[in-house]
């Protein structure tokens, strides 16, 4: 049905355009700022001579943003490589078998995502502090794995639920073991779901802020925490900050567009299809 006809079609077009502007302008403005000189950034010029100098400056000390970029990439990649296989096996079992306490497990897994992160970060801070693991990538990888795991389990389970079970049963009758079935039948069919969950997990880890803020100091700083480096005594260095923001944003936008169709499902954990 045509809901928007309660407005004239031109005014509804106008509202849609306004909504698009409201979404785009804040993002566009910070993107533009990344290419402005530190003089232009303090003016509202839409036309300016663009420069790549900001991207060169943020690689120099004291910023060395490529070091933070590397940290972010290592953490996110290791987190995906570790958590996705574990989540896939769990999702398969929860999808295909009747497990004692399955619904409790699923609820508990979901509940972990409802708890404010600050509650979890404090005990971890104390623990890593006492064993000298503050400011290490390993500490971040551990934590991010725990953040990503629940999403990955729910997402992959949703995909496996949608795969018909008959092929598996036929293979089992033909004498294949359960693990062979998982590897040769389920994995290829669930591949789009597993890939989506991997991308989603990568985004979560890449954008994660609070744990990285509390648990890192200098060596293991990730990109989002690195943004704080630009609060100089002379004021915020917006041009450099914008350039770094762009570096954080671009891969995420590309990845988000790749899994656009499944994005909503991932965030609501299969609640809406």
């Amino acid at each position: 049905m045509n809901y928007s006809r309660c407005l004239s079609s031109r005014s509804s077009d106008l509202l849609v355009l306004i909504a698009a502007c409201v979404i785009l302008v804040p993002i566009g403005w910070i993107v533009l700022a990344a290419f402005k000189s530190n003089v232009d950034v303090f003016q509202l010029k839409l036309f300016f001579s663009p420069t790549l100098a900001n991207f060169a400056t943020i690689l120099d000390p004291p910023y060395v943003i490529h070091h933070k970029l590397l940290n972010s990439a290592i953490v996110a990649l290791v987190v995906v490589v570790v958590s996705i296989p574990i989540a896939t096996l769990a999702a398969y079992s929860l999808s295909r078998f009747k497990l004692y306490g399955a619904s409790f497990m699923l609820t508990a897994i979901l509940a972990t995502q409802f708890i404010p992160a600050v509650t979890i970060v404090l005990p971890f801070f104390l623990m890593f502090r006492s064993i000298g693991m503050l400011d290490t990538l390993l500490a971040l990888i551990l934590i991010h794995t725990s953040i990503v795991m629940p999403y990955a389990i729910w997402m992959i389970k949703g995909f496996i639920d949608g795969i018909p079970i008959e092929t598996e049963e036929a293979a089992l009758v033909d004498g294949a073991t359960r693990l062979q079935v998982i590897r040769n039948i389920v994995l290829p069919m669930a591949a789009p779901g597993v890939i989506t969950a991997s991308i989603f997990s990568f985004i979560l880890s890449w954008n994660e802020f609070m744990f990285a803020l509390v648990l890192t100091r200098r060596d293991a700083i990730t990109l989002p925490v690195g943004l704080a480096l630009f609060n100089a005594e002379t004021g915020v260095q917006w041009h450099l900050l914008a350039a770094t923001s762009l570096i954080i944003m671009i891969p995420m936008i590309v990845l988000a567009l790749l899994i656009q169709r499944h994005f909503v499902q991932g965030m609501t954990m299969g609640a809406v299809r």
């Binding site: 809901y3 972990t112 600050v118 909503v264």
Partner: protein, 288 residues
């Protein structure tokens, strides 16, 4: 291996990770709520103090303000996000190239982390060169050079606006999915009977959308309680701690004042309602 063992072995690693990384810390922080512990004075938890940390919290003006801010932040961001998201979802229903393009754009704010949203908004709101504040000052001259982040009310309003900006597009995507799944027959029947478009939306579409709307409301409530990155980047809880929410209050108590028992108590004031909400979400909302 017999299947009745295998199925548990398959879930075991995942469950262990969740229990060790969330269950463990949660229990530990619960135990800390009844301890007095300043990390600057001692590396180990101090004396057992019963519920002193909780009573201290509920007598502290900063804590009560953070609690009030949290409630207000939830109410404002949830209401605004749901109303705006529903409007956008309804506006985009008709299809066509313009609307399909805009729908594709809805994913963009979500690809920005909340920390980035906070930074971008601080940039937009800068009284001297922020696009938003300067443009607004041009349209309404009396608002020129208003420092949006310098007074408690305006800083709080800015926080709400930035948060609503970040979440509305994503919530519209959920609602677009919900609208597409509605049965069309009753809607068409009402139209044939001559009901106005507005009546159709109010009396038929929205009531049928209630399950999806409740998912949106609950998710947004949770995101509002968890909001931290955005506040950290936008206002730092300031000016003078006036825009702190419970998440932010717990953070400053734990990591600026190193008052671990007190911080844990403040956190648990949030955790309990959240656990109840999870239960409600999985029991009633996901099932329907």
């Amino acid at each position: 291996m017999p299947e009745r063992y295998l199925k548990y072995i398959l879930v075991l690693p995942a469950i262990l990770i969740v229990v060790l990384t969330t269950g463990g810390p949660l229990i530990y922080s619960a135990l800390l709520t009844v301890r007095q512990w300043r990390l600057t004075q001692s590396p180990r938890p101090g004396a057992f103090v019963g519920f002193d940390n909780f009573s201290r919290a509920f007598e502290s003006p900063e804590f009560l303000r953070a609690l009030g801010n949290t409630v207000l932040f939830i109410v404002l961001t949830v209401t605004l996000t749901v109303v705006l998201a529903l409007t956008i979802a309804l506006l985009l229903q008709r299809g066509g190239p313009l609307r399909r393009t805009v729908q594709a754009l809805l994913i963009l704010p979500f690809a920005m982390s909340p920390a980035l949203v906070g930074i971008s908004w601080r940039f937009l709101l800068n009284p001297e060169f922020g696009l938003f504040s300067v443009t607004l000052g041009k349209i309404i001259p009396s608002l020129a050079h208003v420092n949006w982040l310098a007074t408690p009310e305006l800083a709080f309003a800015s926080m709400v606006a930035a948060d609503v900006w970040a979440w509305t597009p994503f919530m519209s995507l959920i609602l677009i999915g919900g609208l597409a799944a509605l049965p069309q027959e009753t809607i068409e029947a009402a139209q044939i009977d001559g009901a106005s478009r507005w009546r159709v939306i109010k009396d038929i579409v929205i009531p049928q959308l209630v399950p999806v709307l409740s998912i949106v409301v609950i998710l947004k409530t949770i995101f509002a309680v968890k909001a931290f990155d955005l506040i950290f980047m936008l206002t730092q809880g300031g000016p003078a701690r006036t825009t702190e929410t419970l998440s932010y209050f717990s953070y400053t108590t734990g990591f600026s004042y190193y008052d671990m028992g007190y911080a844990s108590a403040a956190m648990w004031v949030m955790v309990l309602p959240m656990l109840l909400l999870t239960l409600f979400y999985t029991r009633y909302v996901l099932k329907s």
